[in-house]
């Protein structure tokens, strides 16, 4: 089993150079059955990461480019009258897939955003009075431009909470970028990529995450962290129970990726900025830029004792 995971990471690494940490985080998110939000500037490889993941996992993949005139029906699907059979037939939208890349989600109107986010949460879609389940697994990777860019509709906090993790890829290292210039287009390599995992194997991994052990000592630590966000004056509001559970589950998945059967506080600390960052807001200044969230997470980690002695 652990070979699969290493294989996956290495394979994606050949396409997405020098981004092992982010790849691991994305896998953590996938294994925890959560959805991923990637916040970055255009052209940083967001789409490539999503495609890689779908390809390697052997999953069905759809991509929707969000624009300001995109309507909910464009994502969910629509019932069309069939003249031959004289009845309405449902044409499934791109949401009926296993991996959905929602590109630049913050460029569409809130109406469309919430249609997708509801589907993410419920893992089913109700259209024309009929409830249709989404395929299993259902993994959404949404990308978003930083809000400073014009013409965007930033996601409200309640919507952000639906995303299990938020990561940002960042610029590649100088060395990696140089090899990008020299080598062939990584996307060419993408086409030749083989799927490494079967659906059953993926399910096994996802179930295995639940079995990773978290001792009382560790739960105490998580609880102290959550408490701190609720009572420290730098936080406008604290972490919700959903956020706390996400933190723990992400740490478990991270431990699994690192072939451990139990969670270490280091796991918590590594996944914390990605899981907690978009769920809290600092008090000073209203704008919630990534940099501020990162420093807020750092503040959180630096302020809470790992072991109470």
């Amino acid at each position: 089993m652990s070979q699969f995971i290493d294989n996956i990471i290495n394979t994606i690494g050949t396409v997405l150079l020098d981004k092992e940490h982010q790849v691991k985080l994305a896998l953590t998110c996938l294994f925890s059955r959560g959805h991923l939000l990637i916040e970055d500037l255009p052209g940083m490889g967001k789409t490539t990461l999503a495609q890689c993941l779908a390809q390697v996992m052997g999953l069905q993949y759809e991509r929707v480019q969000f624009t300001s005139d995109l309507l909910p029906a464009d994502i969910l699907g629509v019932a069309i009258f069939d003249r031959n059979s004289s009845e309405f037939r449902f044409h499934a939208g791109p949401v009926f897939t296993q991996v959905l890349l929602a590109d630049e989600i913050n460029r569409s109107t809130p109406k469309t955003q919430s249609a997708l986010l509801e589907a993410m949460e419920e893992r089913q879609v109700s259209i024309e009075g009929e409830t249709r389940p989404l395929p299993e697994p259902f993994f959404v990777i949404a990308t978003q431009n930083p809000q400073s860019q014009a013409g965007t509709y930033p996601l409200p906090e309640s919507q952000l909470d639906r995303f299990f993790m938020r990561i940002s890829l960042g610029y590649p290292s100088a060395q990696a970028e140089r090899s990008l210039y020299k080598g062939i287009d990584p996307r060419e390599r993408l086409k030749s990529m083989q799927s490494l995992v079967t659906l059953d194997q993926l399910h096994t991994i996802q179930n295995k995450v639940q079995e990773i052990k978290a001792t009382d000592q560790l739960l105490d630590y998580v609880q102290r962290l959550v408490d701190f966000t609720r009572y420290d004056e730098d936080f406008t509001y604290g972490l919700s129970p959903r956020g706390a559970i996400a933190l723990l589950r992400a740490a478990k998945a991270w431990a699994l990726i690192h072939k451990r059967e139990y969670v270490l506080p280091e796991d918590i600390q590594i996944v914390l900025p990605s899981v907690v960052g978009h769920r809290v807001r600092g008090k000073v200044g209203a704008s919630s830029t990534s940099a501020q969230h990162a420093s807020l997470s750092e503040h959180l980690i630096k302020s809470v004792n790992v072991v109470e002695t």
């Binding site: 139990y262 280091e266 790992v306 002695t309």
Partner: protein
Amino acid sequence: MSLQSASVARHALVWSFVAQGVCILPLLYFMPYWMPLMWLGVMLWRIQIYRGAWPFPVTKIKLSLAGVCVVALLASYPGIKGVEPLIAFLIVSIVLKVVEMRRRADVLLVIFTGFFAVAAQFLFFQGMLIAIYSIFCCLVLLTAWIAIYGSRILPFKQLLIASSKALAHSLPVMVVLFIVLPRFGSFWQVPLANEAGSTGFSDSMGPGTLSELTKSSSPAFRVNFIADENGNRILPQPKERYWRGLVLDDFDGRQWRYGRTWMMQHGYNSNAVPVNWEVETRSDRRFEYEVLIEPHNQRWLFTLMAPERVASTSLKTQFAGDFLAFSRYPVTSRAKYSVISAPDYTIASEQLGMHDRSRNLRLPEDYNPLTVALAESWVEEGLLENDIIERALQMFQSSFYYTLRPPVLGRHSSDEFLFESKRGFCEHFASSFTILMRAAGIPARVVVGYQGGEYNPLEDYFLIRQSDAHAWAEVWLTGQGWTRVDPTAAVAPSRIEDGLSASLEEEEQSMVSSGFRGSWMSKVQMRIDALSFSWHRWVLGYDAERQKQLLKGMLGGTEFWRIALFALLSTGGMLFVIFLWLVLRNKRAHLSAEARVYRVLLGKLAKRGFKPAQGETPLQFAERVAQAKPQWKSQLVLAVKLLNVILYQGRTDEIPRLRRLIGQMSLD
């Protein structure tokens, strides 16, 4: 939210109003009438500022406001004197501060000034209730402080718990400081306000003077009797409880006066009775007692006859003629003095000086002709001194009434009393009797003071109230000297044995304000008075003398080092107990075995100057240490890996192994 934050939140505003109000409320009672109005006005103003209706006052308005208040103060206290104007100034300043509370720091300032107001309360009251109230004030102030200081609004219960804890921490320190801080005497005493003793009698007595007093149940003084070295204690019989205050020997036909007021200031400057006074004691019986006297703004002190010594640490006591004890200055605050009295005495038995004799025989002309005639008829009958006294007392006994509501008497008060109304209170009997004696040629004088007293078994003392005020007579008999004769005893013996209300008709008993004798209320009253007595005795009466005794008893000496050591050890000890409790409660009790083993490792590293930063995991900490001390790396990594297994894999069975590992570590 920083302290400099620009606005004052609503809860901070409310808390500052409440806290300030609680602190200055008792003081406002003594302040001019405009001050409560000003206080309300200022609060209203500040509320309007909060609502945004009115702006903050500009400097010009503030200055003129302060000016107006100062002028008002000068008008209310013409010729500033005493402590009230200064307290009034303090209150004006802290109340006015409210309108310029702009930032949170200003609100805190208002809270802090509240503590001054609490201290000022003690200039007006020193009772136990006000002490309890002042602690309550401190609690409110602390709660307000915490509420305002905190960045978030906490529930009231939580605030109260926090402030109670803070207060509870400070109380032991307060007790220690109370015990050890030097007690200064009158050296830097602040003139206490409103000690003006309420009632009590003056240095003259006319008809109706004392019956007025009986309407007051307020205490005059309290007495506790002290046992001698053998542990024996003699208490005076009810008929011996004549607390002598003043001798009135100057009669102008209407009023009896103390004729030698100059004696009060220029008495015999000694605590003991001068040796040349002709006093003989007939037995070894002695009463030794301490009197805690309420302020009565007079100089005289009360003693049982015949006092031998009077001493006090707070009063300058001295004797004047006629065995009267005085304080050199009026008693304006509660004071204590101790007396030794010899109840079996004879004074000036051989002969009375010419001057004294004529003074105690003098009667004004043209007053009470019938009384004088009656006395002269007795002399003409050839009766002797004792017989004349006997005859007078018999007369009282046969046809006179003891009442609180005597009829109004005219110019010849004694004549009207003796031959017409025949109803009177103790002053009537004492006065008429003395006039009779003087007319019959027996030197006599009126004595005023208190008679009786209520024994309080809870704290073992006698309480003498204003309603116990009494007047009696002293006559000089050849061979016996000055002798006490109480004509009231002849009319109403129960007055002497059982107290005033027992001797009155039922309908008059309600007029006597002696508390609630006999009912369950009296028990409550007794308990309250006992508490207040202990308060006066142990807290307010804790003077340099008592401190010395206590410290000697506790520490075996009063050297500076003993006191300093005691203060240090006791406060330090108490703080240490609190510290231990906190440590044990927070750490040991909730600490798991896993965490304790980590503590051992941390302790080992802490000795070598390494401490984990906050938020550092055991592994990160170990790596940091290993970077500084590469030679420890292998041991540390081994230990921490095992620790992680214990802590996070739940392998508690590995704890002994880790303990061994840590024990074997050689870190140098």
